[in-house]
């Protein structure tokens, strides 16, 4: 079951997950619906739906079919305007107990998606790990840039979709893999969450990250055979939840938990936060090798 205070947006129905892509490619709808059911039963608060480069009509069909097997609200996931539009149009609000869908996700360069609010009100995941400078998007390198990106995109959303409650906003400050973090992204992320949390303008906002990204490219097991990914993700949650993180796009199969400082994964992450550059990678390696 999920950690108290943490809502899991079940990530399995995503074309970029190799085993799911196989189901999509084989048009194995029953297999895909099974994923919806198992995530529902596993405690997901929302079921993410990402159909990859397939048609808007296919997204609409998937939304309807998935809602036929689960009453959980959905997270409509695509960088493509028309695919999102089709998913929102097909969404049955009553079936989800009146709960709005999540729109995963809107970045500054995709603000056209704000227009879709008129079709079906949603909870936007606002991606604030990139900002627009002179019409060009670039990744935020500091906590201050991330915070400024949050101010900017939220300001724009409020102007274009007035009256949305703070509790309907989800901020995604962008998580990057720890195994390649030689540029201090984890520092930036946690520091930006502090800045956002301290701003009354964002009171009641949710915060979410794509948690599986954090441990991608790392081995599944440590040298002693114990798992690598779940504990490191739990270590991240232990630090980030007190800073306002209350949602993750993640797996219901992981046993997320709060870790004590002496847990090896917690010790690793705490040590990484005190290190810079390649020393972070060396410390991560020390954890699993």
């Amino acid at each position: 079951m999920p950690l108290p205070g943490l809502t899991i947006i079940g990530e399995s129905i995503n074309d970029s997950v190799p085993s799911t892509k196989k189901l999509f490619d084989a048009n194995d709808i029953a297999g895909l619906l099974e994923l919806a059911k198992s995530q529902d039963e596993g405690g997901a608060g929302y079921i993410d739906v990402n159909v990859g480069p397939r048609s808007p009509e296919f997204m609409a069909e998937m939304v309807k079919k998935i809602q036929s097997v689960t009453a959980k609200p959905l997270s409509i996931d695509s960088p493509d305007y028309n695919i999102i539009k089709a998913g929102l149009e097909a969404y049955d609000l009553a079936r989800a107990g009146g709960k709005k869908p999540i729109l995963n996700s809107i970045s500054a360069l995709r603000s056209k998606m704000f227009d879709l609010y008129a079709i079906q009100p949603f909870m936007p995941i606002l991606l604030v790990s990139e900002n627009v400078v002179n019409g060009q998007s670039q990744p935020c390198r500091t906590a201050e840039e991330t915070y400024a990106a949050a101010k900017s995109i939220v300001g724009e959303f409020r102007t274009r979709c007035p009256g949305v409650k703070n509790s309907d906003y989800i901020i995604d400050p962008g998580i990057a893999p720890l195994g390649s973090d030689s540029e201090g992204n984890i520092h930036r992320l946690l520091a930006s969450m502090k800045l956002i949390r301290a701003d009354a303008d964002f009171a009641g906002f949710h915060a979410s990250v794509g948690l599986s990204n954090f441990t991608v490219m790392l081995p599944p097991k440590r040298a002693d055979g114990s798992p690598v990914k779940g504990p490191l993700e739990s270590a991240f949650l232990t630090l980030a939840m007190p800073l306002g993180l209350d949602m993750v796009i993640g797996s219901v199969k992981r046993k997320y938990e709060k870790l004590t400082p002496d847990h090896p994964a917690m010790a690793c992450l705490n040590a990484c936060l005190k290190l810079e550059g390649f020393d972070v990678l060396m410390r991560v390696r020390e954890f699993y090798a």
Binding site: S16, G52, P79, S137, Q138, G179, S180, L281
Partner: protein
């Protein structure tokens, strides 16, 4: 005095300090810079690649080894140039327009540098025209295009079209990669090479240079 052969292990284990020390000593002892690269450094990175592909090494090891390689290469390059040696080839790399995801691109760039290529990194969100300009600068350049999103991968085709339009397509090779990219897609858009990981990208680039 340290043995130049130690350079192999220093790179393989990602010990940048040791790599620096051994390289400096070898240069001071008038070792042949080309031989250092060919005999120890490139084989070390090849072994790193092999271990990565059979899941003995993971991304941290890859990055740490690439840094050790880079440390040694930076010391050796001036001597290589002085001896008239050429890099393996020139690669101009970037994520295509609209795509800001640079982790994979950075990994490939590190591995290519480690593999003896001169790498020009154009960064993220690179418009097609920039790749065309880079193509014009030197014949035989390899353009390495990266995309993470299904929506931005289509920009790869735009780059190839822009190269055709500028009349420089035949002067360069184009290789592509990124999560949604497949060999089939590379064939569809007329790219010359495709790799699904950073280590194999080096082999692809070598093949493109050889052809």
């Amino acid at each position: 005095m340290s043995d130049p052969a130690e350079l192999y292990n220093a790179i393989l284990t990602g010990n940048a300090k040791k790599a620096e020390e051994v390289t400096k000593a070898a240069i001071a002892a008038n070792a042949d810079p080309g031989e250092l690269v060919q005999k120890y450094m490139i084989p070390a990175m090849d072994e790193v690649g092999r271990r990565f592909e059979c899941n003995e090494y993971f991304v941290p090891e890859l990055l740490i080894a690439a840094r050790a390689m880079k440390t040694a290469l930076e010391l050796i390059t001036p001597h290589l140039m002085a001896s008239g040696a050429e890099p393996m080839g020139r690669v101009v790399i970037g994520t295509v327009q609209g795509d800001l995801h640079d982790i994979g691109k950075n990994l490939v760039a590190s591995m290519l540098e480690g593999g003896g290529f001169q790498v020009v990194d154009l960064g993220v969100d690179v418009p097609a025209e920039k790749f065309v300009e880079a193509a014009k600068e030197k014949d035989g350049t390899i353009l390495a295009l990266s995309a993470l999103l299904t929506t931005t991968m289509t920009m790869m085709k735009n780059v190839i079209d822009a190269l055709e339009k500028a009349g420089v397509r035949s002067r360069v090779k184009v290789m592509i990669g990124g999560a949604p990219i497949t060999q089939q897609y590379a064939n569809e858009i007329g790219a010359d090479g495709f790799s699904d990981n950073a280590s194999a990208a080096v082999a692809v680039a070598r093949k493109l240079v050889a052809n």
